[in-house]
Symmetry: C2
Subunit: 168 residues, 2 copies
Amino acid sequence: MSLDGYIAKPNDDLSFLKLVEKEGEDYGYTEFTKTVDTLIIGRKTYDYVLKEIGSSHYDNGQRDVYIITRTERPSVGKTIFYTGNLTELVRRLKSGSGKNIYCDGGAEIINELLRNDLIDEFTISVIPILLGEGIRLFKDGRPEQQLELLNTKSFETGLTQLLYKRKK
Amino acid sequence: MSLDGYIAKPNDDLSFLKLVEKEGEDYGYTEFTKTVDTLIIGRKTYDYVLKEIGSSHYDNGQRDVYIITRTERPSVGKTIFYTGNLTELVRRLKSGSGKNIYCDGGAEIINELLRNDLIDEFTISVIPILLGEGIRLFKDGRPEQQLELLNTKSFETGLTQLLYKRKK
């Protein structure tokens, strides 16, 4: 998010992300996703990544990728287009065995999971800009949740990652 | 602010600040304010600090303290209750000689200064909690402003400070 809490400018404009794009710097993404066997991604985020990076960013043939969408589409490789209830999906996945589940936007998905207290760990990447307006990561009307700071990490581009776990 | 961007819960409830209160830990405040000769404080923030800490937190007899308020009150020591135009005050102070000007909330003051691009340096203290709702530090409808990350600092309580300067 930007320092002022937005994940996009109005009209889903993500051009501010270019500010922190750097050849060979993936901000720990590859390393982190080794601990993950299931990804949950919003349809808009998925389409953006598909266009900018390619489908293999999420689907490497080994982990399950759920794209949360309202439009039915046939599965591609291990990528499933899921039109059902998100909270039910996450509850089912968490009650099963397996490694970590990684959820990467958009805001509607994150906020539904927050409202149901289904997020155990947070990595917030703060990008050094005030966008001034746009789509907020955190919507109003969620329950209060205490966190524990696990780590922070700053990068040459000015991006700072804040890592928290949910304190219950 | 909380990780989700609030500086108070609804009804100006600041009780979440207790989470990071620690005997003998002022998060660099004393050291920082040595570089400052003028403070600008919102009336609500001032009243809160007056009650919780005491007036000497701001007014140490050496620096000018402007309390931004709609209600005229006589000056006390170096504390001036200012009912005029905030932007004009800051433009005037910045054009004069002197050391740094420190502005410490509330949100209305910060957002007026942001809209007029009058803030040169930002220290954002992120408290490890999601409040879920309340008064946001950053309001919608400000211009985009690029920042440069200067430093980050984490404390035992889980509070993290992010220090930026405005990149022009």
